[in-house]
């Protein structure tokens, strides 16, 4: 069985930052593994630990810098990795859901995984759509916002629990091959071990260009255009309660009552 885990290196913004045109100034960005993808990696590695003959392949779309991030997936137990990048991607202002879908679909065709695990969303641009869009493109079954997974490898079925709005949960059986978008909390991501980190230095990260994937440069073209980037006005309306715990509890109760929270 082969599990493909998509990971993304996301940009985290420092507390104080400046906007440069329609983007945040590079000087204020730090890069890290997308939080949701960390759970997807852990889920993939746990599958490989509990089932026989499972290969976990991690794939990312990103420049050479992102190897540091994808190597952490290898350190945590992924067997090998694929990194898709190309000069024409470097030049694109943004990679939208369609572009990422087409890039990842080409990787899925190449790798032919039985299961694709993807984070629910990326912490930076937050489209939250790539996983499901990928399933649609490659004709896989799919389930989004999965917070529990039981895999029947023999039967080719993933029994998943999905988190819906308003605290409702849904149990669904999904036939493989499938794409599951993984919600935080589905597991407890491990810290990479030192020997895992050492082994990861020797594991393969295969670079793939658009040519390698049989795609042309127009894959990065987008119908979307970022027209503005700004910080929304924020209003701070804090009430500070003073006094003994008894007094402050009373004051809090009053605010809640006035706000219609309690009766």
């Amino acid at each position: 069985m082969k599990v493909l885990v998509t990971v993304k290196e996301v940009a985290a913004v420092e507390d104080e930052f400046e906007i440069d045109g329609t983007a945040i100034d590079e000087a204020y960005l730090e890069y890290d593994l997308n939080e949701w993808d960390d759970y997807a990696i852990e889920e993939g590695v746990q599958i490989s630990e509990s089932e026989d003959d499972v290969e976990v392949v991690s794939v990312t779309i990103g420049p050479e810098r992102s190897e540091e991030t994808i190597r952490m997936a290898l350190a945590k137990g992924a067997d090998r990795a694929v990194r898709v990048w190309d000069d024409s991607l470097e030049d694109a202002e943004m990679l939208d859901v369609e572009a990422k879908t087409n890039l990842l679909a080409a990787v899925v065709e190449e790798e032919e995984p039985d299961l694709v695990l993807s984070g629910v969303q990326a912490d930076d641009d937050g489209f939250g759509a790539t996983g499901v869009s990928l399933a649609d493109e490659v004709g896989f079954e799919w389930a989004a916002v999965v917070n529990d997974l039981e895999l029947d490898v023999e039967g080719g079925v993933a029994s998943v629990r999905r988190e819906l709005e308003g605290g409702v949960e849904e149990l669904t059986d999904v036939d493989l091959p499938a794409v599951l978008t993984i919600q935080t909390g589905i597991n407890e991501p491990r810290y990479a071990s030192l020997r895992g980190i050492r082994q990861a230095q020797r594991k393969e990260i295969k670079p793939m260009t658009l040519d390698d994937l049989g795609l042309s440069a127009d894959v990065a073209e987008s119908d979307l255009e970022i027209v503005d980037m700004y910080e929304p006005e924020t209003e701070s309306d804090a009430t500070l309660f003073e006094g003994s715990p008894d007094e402050t509890a009373g004051q809090l109760a009053e605010v809640l009552r006035d706000g219609g929270v309690g009766q």
């Binding site: 540091e68 952490m72 350190a75 810290y191 071990s193 980190i197 230095q201």
Partner: protein, 377 residues
Amino acid sequence: MDFTSEQEAVRDVVREFAVEELRPVAAECDAEQAFPEDVWDDLADMDLTGLTVPEGYGGYDADPVTYALINEELAYGMLSVATALSVHGLATSCIAEFGSEDVKDEWLPEMATGRPVGAFALSEPQAGSNPAEMSTVARRDGDEFVVDGTKQWITNGKRSDVVILFAKTDRDDPGSVTQFLVPKDTDGVSVGKKEDKLGLRASDTTSLEFDGARIPAEYQLTEEGRGLSAAFSILTGGRIAIGAQSVGLAQSALDAALEYSQEREQFDQPISDIQTIRHKLADMQTKVQAGRLLTYDAARKKASGDPQATAMAASQAKLFSSESAIEVANEAVQIHGGYGYTTDFPVERLYRDAKILTIYEGTSEIQKKIIARHLLD
């Protein structure tokens, strides 16, 4: 500083672990004088308990620079845990370097997985800076040695399962100090009182009593009389680790002071806008970075395999970084004012913890003696 991608990845993971898993429990462990055993098991899962165990025995066999990075980052989270781990590392270093194949096979694979926990027993009530004055004796009796004596200031004293012991084979010969391995469950080995300390309170420090304790002769690690030189060579690496821990603790105090000084307002401005506070922060940063450079210089010298240059550099790193850690922690408390004197802020504990750094594994005075000897003799 140039680190390999493997060293950077190790540093990043250990730092994340220190911030996420050590920091949140540090105050409680300090207050209760309790070592966080579940954290130790996490360290083992990450292979950190096998840092000085060769790869062939299931260890990570960290290079000296990586070893320093790990000590710095763990101490950034909690000094007591970094200390306990570095003492475990001293014990596995001794077994790896001096043990026979049988002894290594018996102990190292399991110690690499975290348990048995190791301890290192060199100091005695009347023999601290001058270990040659020790009075613990290991007398040969057929296929065994019989150990009698008392060891003092033993980190992991109660929680350890195996002790690297230094003892004379001839009571009257100061040159007969030899290194042994003593399983803690040996008859005649008992744990003395737990010390009630100024800082490092989560670390388990006790005395150890040896009363006619019989160990098999194969647990003699060094040749007779070679115990002290062995101890000193192992402690050179230990001093780099203490230098690194000092840097980690000082960085933690500096970060706390930086954060507080930008939030705390007096005279209608954050106190970080006041020049006297800014100068304090500048001094603290410079001391931390100078200590870091000395520490990694010593680690690189050790990696390049020059024992003489390493010994001097290790002493300089430990001397400067540990004294700086006290100064930086002191100023961090000062910047916090009255709040810094309470347990509501972490700098209070850092201030108490810092003092041990200028004492254990060779006091600052002993480090100066070593540095001067390299300069003059």
